[in-house]
Subunit: 494 residues, 4 copies
Amino acid sequence: MASDRLISSNELGRHNAADNIWIAVNGVIYDVTDFAPTHPGGLRVILDNAGKDASRAYDEVHSPSIIINSLGAEKRVGILDQSTVIRAPEQVIQQSVSPKGEKPPLSTFINSYDFEKVASKTLSKKAWAFYSAGATDLITRDDNKKAFDRIGFRPRILRDVTTVSTETKLLGCDSSIPLFIAPVGMAKLAHPDGEKAFAKGAAKAGIIPCISTAASYSASEIVGFAPLNHPFFFQLYVDKNRAKSERLLREVGELGMRAIFVTVDAPVPGKREADERLHVDESLSSPISGVKAINDSKGGGIARVMGSFIDPGLSWTDIAWLRSCTNLPIVIKGIQTAEDARLALEHGVDGIVVSNHGGRSLDTSPAAIMVLLELQRRCPEVFKSMEVFLDGGIRRGTDVIKALCLGAKGVAVGRPFLYALTYGSDGIERLTEILKDEIETTLRLLGVTSLSQLHPGLLNTRDVDHLIPANYQESEAPSLQPKRGVAKKEIAKL
Amino acid sequence: MASDRLISSNELGRHNAADNIWIAVNGVIYDVTDFAPTHPGGLRVILDNAGKDASRAYDEVHSPSIIINSLGAEKRVGILDQSTVIRAPEQVIQQSVSPKGEKPPLSTFINSYDFEKVASKTLSKKAWAFYSAGATDLITRDDNKKAFDRIGFRPRILRDVTTVSTETKLLGCDSSIPLFIAPVGMAKLAHPDGEKAFAKGAAKAGIIPCISTAASYSASEIVGFAPLNHPFFFQLYVDKNRAKSERLLREVGELGMRAIFVTVDAPVPGKREADERLHVDESLSSPISGVKAINDSKGGGIARVMGSFIDPGLSWTDIAWLRSCTNLPIVIKGIQTAEDARLALEHGVDGIVVSNHGGRSLDTSPAAIMVLLELQRRCPEVFKSMEVFLDGGIRRGTDVIKALCLGAKGVAVGRPFLYALTYGSDGIERLTEILKDEIETTLRLLGVTSLSQLHPGLLNTRDVDHLIPANYQESEAPSLQPKRGVAKKEIAKL
Amino acid sequence: MASDRLISSNELGRHNAADNIWIAVNGVIYDVTDFAPTHPGGLRVILDNAGKDASRAYDEVHSPSIIINSLGAEKRVGILDQSTVIRAPEQVIQQSVSPKGEKPPLSTFINSYDFEKVASKTLSKKAWAFYSAGATDLITRDDNKKAFDRIGFRPRILRDVTTVSTETKLLGCDSSIPLFIAPVGMAKLAHPDGEKAFAKGAAKAGIIPCISTAASYSASEIVGFAPLNHPFFFQLYVDKNRAKSERLLREVGELGMRAIFVTVDAPVPGKREADERLHVDESLSSPISGVKAINDSKGGGIARVMGSFIDPGLSWTDIAWLRSCTNLPIVIKGIQTAEDARLALEHGVDGIVVSNHGGRSLDTSPAAIMVLLELQRRCPEVFKSMEVFLDGGIRRGTDVIKALCLGAKGVAVGRPFLYALTYGSDGIERLTEILKDEIETTLRLLGVTSLSQLHPGLLNTRDVDHLIPANYQESEAPSLQPKRGVAKKEIAKL
Amino acid sequence: MASDRLISSNELGRHNAADNIWIAVNGVIYDVTDFAPTHPGGLRVILDNAGKDASRAYDEVHSPSIIINSLGAEKRVGILDQSTVIRAPEQVIQQSVSPKGEKPPLSTFINSYDFEKVASKTLSKKAWAFYSAGATDLITRDDNKKAFDRIGFRPRILRDVTTVSTETKLLGCDSSIPLFIAPVGMAKLAHPDGEKAFAKGAAKAGIIPCISTAASYSASEIVGFAPLNHPFFFQLYVDKNRAKSERLLREVGELGMRAIFVTVDAPVPGKREADERLHVDESLSSPISGVKAINDSKGGGIARVMGSFIDPGLSWTDIAWLRSCTNLPIVIKGIQTAEDARLALEHGVDGIVVSNHGGRSLDTSPAAIMVLLELQRRCPEVFKSMEVFLDGGIRRGTDVIKALCLGAKGVAVGRPFLYALTYGSDGIERLTEILKDEIETTLRLLGVTSLSQLHPGLLNTRDVDHLIPANYQESEAPSLQPKRGVAKKEIAKL
């Protein structure tokens, strides 16, 4: 296992003898003791840099991947603790992407994983950690995808599938395929154009971007990169200062946004350890929320240090307040139980997103597609009166179709579009094209020709059916723990 | 993980300095920076070839496996993008097989995996990709085999098993064992004799080959390599130009074929990524369908680029048309649900093949043996009126017997025979001999002496029984998604 | 796999030629034949030490991890059999921890695994083996943790979680979080301050230490390191000489301990093989039990060789005797079945600890959290009349909350605090701070604000529900084995 | 993966140039091209042996494990095809064990796996293959052990376990622990004393050996190595020449054997591929059956080539014949279904062994402990009238106790005793001592003091309960396959 231990500049300095050489290259510290004698460029140049940050010397002559290929992961000793280094400010963050020439041409990409692989190598360490991280042990993050693979298709044959259509309407807006770009923060870390490239690429591809409160550009800047009338959604984190949120809702309404997605599954940020372990660049700030990044005793987790404005006191009673602030459709993002789906229905919202924040909030929460299945089994009525969406784990056209078979009107895709963004708006277009092709192929091989023909009978969910929780009688709970003195009013709130 | 990234000739050329050396050997690009100083033949010869295609220099002195053994998979940087290379035409494709001397003698082979291992090393990269590839994430391809291993035997003891018989009749034709050679395309990529070697070897071994519409020789050429009256089946892809298919059916009828297998699980080709990533040799063409290969924006997948003639509009109503074109038994190949097995029965066909196209069509479709189990549980009546076959995942004699215990009359075996074909007709004979021996041993150790004594009680399917889907009430489907405005006539077609 | 074979000094001595070089470094024997020619310090110094214990020469110039990094685990030949070595007594044990400078600063630690990783590298081999070992094949040890990961959360949204409280009372004593430090033996092997550092750190962090009968300091020494009135629990192994136990109970009562935890899941020690394979330092002794360590024919397992005083004859009838010896609350530690939980209730004890001794007693016993679930299903009445605790596998704040959702009043955490002890009392404080933060985040993301609101409906246990054993009718047992001549009175005792 | 490809002497000879060097050492061929330039003994000596069998040169200076340690498994190219080599006869087989000095002392062994590890390194390749091999894909062989690990204990606490007894009677004979040595063939391949060491060690340890028809010494030679009256069992393979079996039964009766175990799960040998791939030494012969070894077109599998005398026609009707030949108790070895256990009961035998021949007969047959569980559930009456034994997968004392909890009177242990035999009779004693200690510890930690107190309620089998097959109505079978024309009389035989 490659080590992520934080190592101080002082400790690095002590490994500077021929039998004990560490060097730092682009933020990572390696043990090159064994490698040094066989270094093609000579032992001398390595000894000159022993115990030091050798990034500059290294970059002049080597491509980034050489060091990893040559040494192997086990020689990675840890991460240089940036807070212990004295240096010129322009070195604080690595370039977010490698020079274009290092990346394979878009025409060679044939699935979403191709984008992920390239992003893992070309994004800065910090951007990769921020985007790819999940909460603590990554169980929910990874289950989001794995659960799709445990649900099988039941393909029907000898249907005429000469022409198929993947078009649909999401909250009344046309979409070329049943998915939209999930709201993601700080897209600029992937590409200088950030969310502006989302807007441009999505408009060309006929899909809808959902702009995040944590976007790296203002909503008006972003919208300008798509043709007039191209639909946008807006994702809202409610501010502790409610007046700010009220003003924001007015603004995005005036910009012509078509729906408000209120995120409710992160009243406080989950513990995303890979992100916390790397120091955040304190010059980072969010133009919409106005918050600036800061490193603290828990680490440098971007979502955490920049989410300080989010109100952990938001509750069901606030739905009425939201209604009073906007005429747009309101969608609750972060439903994880049938109980809460029913509450959303009772509160009269226009839609819900089954989501666990991409596995970034509470680890061991259920995979998103499992929650959708729970809704199908325990509260199918919610599909009749609200549009139901899903995000979390979508990587293939087959995943999209599975969600639709279980009642989703569409899905949101986050990380894959962030990874595609390393190619700017061209990446967004290419990824959409690939997903559309996969969706079309899936429909044809299932024996259907339009999204309206999808239904649960085209799936085999038997491998996971037993995992759906039964209705829990909440009134039973207190009797199990009488010593704790649960006050009646507390129970009533559950 | 060995990389499959496509790399241009230009990019290769930039890695030509002593501290950064890539070379291409037989289409694969390696990073030899670390290896070069220790090269037994000297550093100089490597530097002379740095950033270049070194295949010729390499092949003169090295055997093919040396480079992989010496460097390790992690030094494989990617695949040379053949479209970016200027060179003499005779270098376009590698030889499909290595010189005979490199391969182990047939007498040392004792199971079907032995053939697979040799094929993976001696076939051209493209042929290997085409034959071994499955759809997208390979889940169904691999489940085809794994599902057999989850079904156990219940061996009975103290039966007299002195003499056993493995003989049977498939669609009225004698077969020495209950399996036939599955229809596979472009067998010439494995051996110059292609399907002709199938014919010769199968005849000697007493089994039936099923000739594919995508064969690399014409049906009449192939049939000539077996004795008169040796039975053949013919696999049909229905052409968009129905007149062509009508003519073809007439022709194969006149050649004495004994049954027509109509493939219905690939109205469009599945997404076989390993195959798409390698450029196809555009001189490839199919003598039966008349289609020629071409590379396009999706890649070079052989099945896809050569399947353009297949009619995605084929439907149940066309069974009557097929009946009008031939007097031969008609078998529907590609059944994946009990519902469609019942439809096949209603349409009066003579047989069905439970198949998912070897995991090449829609990924996460059920393993073939699981569909057979579904038929046993949900529509056992189909076994009474049709012959039921299975293909997908057969590697052992035990697999064959498990399918027969669940009601199959016989099975089709594809990839293993393609891999055996690297030894020409001798390979076909040897593999059949091995499978026959395994089948005999299995019968004896089960305590039975003929195929007719097999029944479900000899198996323990408890590990997978819960995965069989229940009957789905299709009438319920529309009510779940009322917003989509499903037209009544569309539902009616489901 | 790194080898643990015991190798004699004589055998080591035979590997002393240039083509066959073994050396011992800090108790481990390595094959350095291949490495020697490339040794940066020269081949000569290695040849001088060939076949010998080279620890001293090595330590003068190398840091401990270099040898492992340079050679790889496969070069580890085995363990030097200390009993075959003639040497000065001060070399008998390695220093229990590396010089402080080698360890990362506490401020970089963000979860309990960080402590485990550092401990695995800096503890002496023997201390690591003693602390980390489980019984035989480690199945129960590892299941303790894995079972938590198979139980999911069902997070509720849109609750006001602005303020949360993690405080509780355990057996009437205040605790800042619902956990206490599990009783662990010989803590001095991790840090010179041993249990005294537990006392100091726990007092600062507001949690309760449970002192073990096998502690490396006397109870009065330990208690002195916390402020007056800070609560302590005491763990009792009942001595074969009951008078000794009676005296001990009087003493700890006078010291102000608040409860007695009687360990009952280790009437004899489990077989902890990693610990047995290393010789124990025979100067080790326990100030409370008075036993001294000794190596014997089974090996050097600390728990075994020092547990010789424990009475395997302790039985339910002894509960009355215990009651007569102390006025403190009595808690039975080691419940593994619903049947025994009910017996504990009938015997009127004040609490129980669901525990399998951290997987150190009988391998393939159920994971602790599974036993808690069994109690919920089969004898929920026990939660009404006793405080129920759990230990085994707690590594995350999420684990703590899962146990509480299933009815536990609190949990005990053992190994993680031992690993944190490598940093003395500061480590105890830091680990508690981390766990408290994880517990708070978990509560908020579940949508609750105090421990009293937790209940089983916040969990999804469907993945493991089927593993809960049904009530077994013990009267049926004898009829199955009539030939064994089970005497009626024996059956009656079951 | 290390390769097992058979390579001819000719092919080996072609790899004799500096950039392409293979050598054979003790029957295995390695690629040493990369290693040669760094060989401590110089490149020259390697070049002198390039393309040749270098065993003699190697053995003079190296210990056996050096080559594997130095090169790594991936450099193993294959196996030298002994049939293609011209050489002096004394080189045909390697020594069956390494010189004693290479093996760790018995006092360092603490579990059965320690013996397995040493045997895997010190046995000849052929002996290791013969002993360790299972049928085809090794699924059943490995499940035999894994199934034990899926069955958990339910330990009971606060029982007085001061004294425990592990003694029992097996078929009326005293045994110090509830296990006997399974009949195994050709033990001489593990140690020159072969089965004689079994007799000597077992007698000292107080356990019973079961002598195999395929033993490498005659029964009278073996019996002589134990004190008079020490009990022995005898395993019978019925000869096609029944007169021979009759004579053998008379002989072993006269030698005082105490029971006859008739093996019925291998009417023909399973396909044990590791064994088939290595040529058998044709000087091997069995003194009891009189058969001599021979290599044939299927390979050199010892059990197969030496089992040619076994009668595949043995059937239930022969039980009466067996009864007429001996007065000893008759035990049927190889029961794998509840149906056959009932048949055994009906035929009045004295005992049965639940066994799948150690996973060597039909792969994917059920794990032995699963069959025992099936008997508990579906025909518990068999335990009342016969003694039930189990073999397959026993490696731990916990495994033994689990089998007894499910009704077994005792278990048979095969491979572990073969591996212990590398230390002669001392190894047998030491292994028995270890197993006895594990059994005692297990009893105490379960809270019981004698074998008679064991019952199913001490186990948790919920993880595997669903795998037990239901009663199959055999009368339903034929209706599923009407086309096969099953004759009534054939069905009647099932």
